[in-house]
Amino acid sequence: MPASFIPYFLVAQRLGIALITLVIVSFAVFFATDLLPGDVAQILLGQAATPEAVAGLREAMGLNEPAIYRFLSWLAGLATGDLGTSYVNNMPVSQLIGGRLISSLKLAGVTTLFTVPIALSLGIGAAMARGSLFDRVVSILTISVISVPEFMIATLAVLIFAVWLGWLPALSYGVEVDSWGAMLRGYAMPVITLSCVVSAQMIRMTRAAVIDTINTPYVEMALLKGASRSRMVLRHALPNALGPIANAVALSLSYLVGGVIIVETIFNYPGIAKLMVDAVSTRDLPLIQSCAMIFCISYLSLITLADMIAILANPRLRH
């Protein structure tokens, strides 16, 4: 194989691994939900249902088929975009999820745009000024934000900005979104809360990765060539810290799709995490499975993307 193809080969290999992981995860998701206690037909029909009725419903829903067969037909459905039908309200799952997913992605997107530049600048800045007052302030702030649970941040934010100051609406959805200002006001509190949660990790990891490369001989060499500190960090340290930083960012961001249930609940934001929790309480298996798969896909694509950045940023693999 010509050397110039190696990075593409590695990227393709990484994609292949991601795909295999996805199949394994789908297997786990399907059988884990299958193991949930309780019989769906029984729950749907209620306490008063006759055994014949339950058996009839089971037959009609295909629940008597062997599990592996149901898994394969479910997987085939997923591959063609058919997510199945909700047990609870007989609507196609894709229709239930559609709007919710877009809302979630919107929130995640706004948070990403807001958080990543700030977190990276703070992390790099702290690494450059290691040991300074700025570095210590950033470190203390990130540690305190990590240690405070998000429901606490969210509740405090509501208390301060919505109740006491009255600047922002307490609920972010259902507010009339007729202007940019209104939209910003609606998103402000969930975005602030989520930013606190995801940025702390990003700042710490970025700082650690940059400091790691600052300690290498080639960065000292840059200093001994007369480079300024900022040139030293931006030209020599940062490009080599790209891989670990991309991974830290991806890990933090993956939280934004699946892990935001508390924030969605407190601000009554109709996202996909809330949908999944509702589905669990009604034992709506197709919906649970689809949500779980969406979380996995978003997580996997972020991690795979980060790996691909790390591969392509490394000239030893590129050339």
Partner: protein
């Protein structure tokens, strides 16, 4: 030479803060001058402060260190009085730096040319195309292959010797008055070292540039420096012209350094053996390698058909450059890397090739000592525990008996008994290597495989370890297989020498007559490449360039 020195250092003191927060002085009142065009060597062992002094000439101190007193003047600039920005302006233009390990000092993510001409970009000395033209000229002067295009490569695409010369080009691009060489050839093989030293010497002489050459190796320094400054514990011990110091060292420490360098050759066996006895080890047609095993052969083959015989009481040296397979040979004999072909006979008895198949007794008689004592000793275990383990494993010792034996072992390697309660991190490099040796002795072996055990040690400490090995050999009737890249070390302890090249034994020689008996072109090249304590050695050395090109590991 003019009367005004280019560099003048007066009463320099540098302090450091230890991890525990204690302040210590690492450089104590050092003063010296460097005349224009002169190359001064700072000689000393690790911890003597030679690199710290050299870096302070650029106004740079490593994390935790600080210039606490004295003056440094370079040209017309008073380095000690300057702020960081003014110092940065001097770096690369007035004073520049050639690092110890060029492999680590090049940014892996940038092309070589970009890094070589970075000084001209930082200080806005010239346009990019002018800088590139100048760099190509320097590449040519430093005898780099394909000077027009080598700059387009990345650091991992060129060899160590080439990188070291590229780092010299990087230092010279800004026309500095002073170049600091920080052990620039220590990481190189001897045959490569010669080319690099030659290249350095000619560009420095052509440009009339002053230099500071930091090294622990007197023979290398003798080739390049006009004057030597001998350092110990941050203080100057002796200072003088190179030839004068080599001929008539005045200070006892300098004498000790020189004595550690003088090879003492070993001709006779350490003890008389019974003529009826079998050779202690006999290796016949050994093949070994790494990687995935397919059809009984590993994918990366290292050793090819290695055979030798070692009589009791004699020592076998294995020499060769990096990548020659000498460490793999030790590992294959010990069974860590199982050989896939050949035989190993110990005392006439055939040994299993893989470690896992050998009996406890077979394991006991043959012990291995590794190069880096730091990584070979578990940092979380006390010395007593480290030495006690093989005692329990091989001899079933516990409690009092074991403690008594640990003390005995420590005494054997000339260490105080109280040391057994310490952790490896609390010992010096030489002490750690002695513990490493004591651990091998705990098994009461008949053969010890020494894999570069003195390479990471300072010359005086290494000489003491060699003396210890010889004493132990007489007392315990041991035999050694001694692997090293350093010919004089091998000569000091071995009677027979194997020269290895690319996994094969090219020649077996008697240690005392290596230079005269060598027939194979590679052994001759290797032996002639070892620097001698003679200022005229490098300029007088003639090597066939074709031979060099054929055998150097590039």
């Amino acid at each position: 030479m003019t009367d005004i020195p280019l560099v003048s250092v007066r009463d320099l003191t540098i302090g450091a803060t230890t991890d525990a927060g204690r302040r210590v002085q690492i450089i104590r009142g050092v003063s010296f001058d460097i005349a224009p065009g002169e190359i001064v060597a700072l000689i000393g062992e690790s911890g003597s402060g030679k690199t710290t002094i050299a870096l302070s000439l650029m106004g740079h101190t490593r994390t935790g260190c600080e210039i606490t007193g004295g003056h440094i003047r370079v040209g017309t600039s008073d380095i000690t009085a300057m702020n960081e920005k003014a110092r940065a302006n001097l770096r690369g233009t007035a004073v520049s730096y050639v690092p110890q390990s060029a492999a680590a000092a090049f940014n892996p993510s940038q092309r070589l040319m970009q890094q070589v001409i970075e000084i001209s970009a930082i200080h806005k000395l010239m346009s990019r195309s002018e800088a590139e033209k100048k760099a190509v000229g320097l590449f040519r002067a430093l005898a780099l292959p394909d000077p027009e295009n080598i700059g387009n490569r990345y650091p991992h695409q060129v060899s160590g010797g080439q990188l070291q010369r590229l780092s010299a080009a990087m230092a010279l691009i800004g026309d500095p008055q002073l170049v600091i060489f920080d052990e620039p050839t220590t990481a190189l093989d001897v045959t490569t070292q010669i080319e690099v030293l030659r290249a350095f010497k000619s560009v420095m002489a052509k440009g009339g540039i002053s230099g500071v050459y930091v090294s622990h190796d007197l023979a290398v320094v003798a080739q390049i420096a006009d004057r030597l400054i001998v350092l110990k514990n941050g203080e100057i011990q002796e200072e003088g012209a190179t030839q004068q110091i080599l001929d008539a060292p005045a200070h006892p420490y300098t004498k000790e350094l020189l004595a550690a360098f003088k090879p003492v050759t070993q001709v006779h066996a350490a003890f008389e053996r019974d003529p009826k006895e079998q050779p202690v080890i006999e290796v016949d047609g050994l093949f070994a390698g790494y990687g995935l095993v397919m059809n009984g052969e590993p994918q990366i083959k290292i050793l090819k058909n290695v055979s030798f015989k070692l009589e009791r009481g004699r020592n076998l040296g294995v020499i060769g450059e990096s990548g020659s397979g000498k460490s793999t040979l030790a590992r294959a004999i010990a069974g860590i890397v199982p050989a896939y072909g050949g035989h190993i006979l110990f005392d006439g008895k055939k040994q299993q090739l893989a470690l896992a198949d050998r009996s406890k007794e077979d394991l006991r008689i043959m012990q291995i000592v590794f190069q880096l004592a730091d990584t070979a000793l578990n940092p979380a275990h006390s010395i007593e525990r480290i030495l006690g383990r093989p005692l329990t494993f091989y001899h079933g010792m516990t409690g009092r008996a074991r403690e008594a034996r640990v003390i005995e072992l420590l005494d054997m390697v000339r260490l105080p008994a109280a040391l057994r309660h310490r952790l490896p991190g609390e010992l010096s490099g030489g002490q750690k290597q002695r513990i490493n040796l004591a651990r091998a002795l705990a098994a009461e072996p008949e053969l010890i495989l020494c894999d570069e055990i003195t390479s990471a040690l300072d010359s005086v400490v290494a000489a003491a370890i060699l003396d210890l090995l010889k004493e132990l050999q007489r007392e315990l009737r041991l035999s050694y297989i001694f692997i090293s890249h350093d010919l004089s070390t091998v000569q000091a302890i071995c009677q027979d020498v194997l020269v290895m090249y690319k996994g094969e034994v090219v020649e077996a020689l008697p240690a005392a007559r290596m230079a005269s008996d060598a027939r194979h072109p590679y052994s001759r090249l290797l032996i002639s490449s070892v620097p001698q304590l003679d200022t005229g050695w490098l300029s007088g050395l003639e090597q066939d360039p074709e031979l060099l090109a054929a055998f150097s590991n590039r």
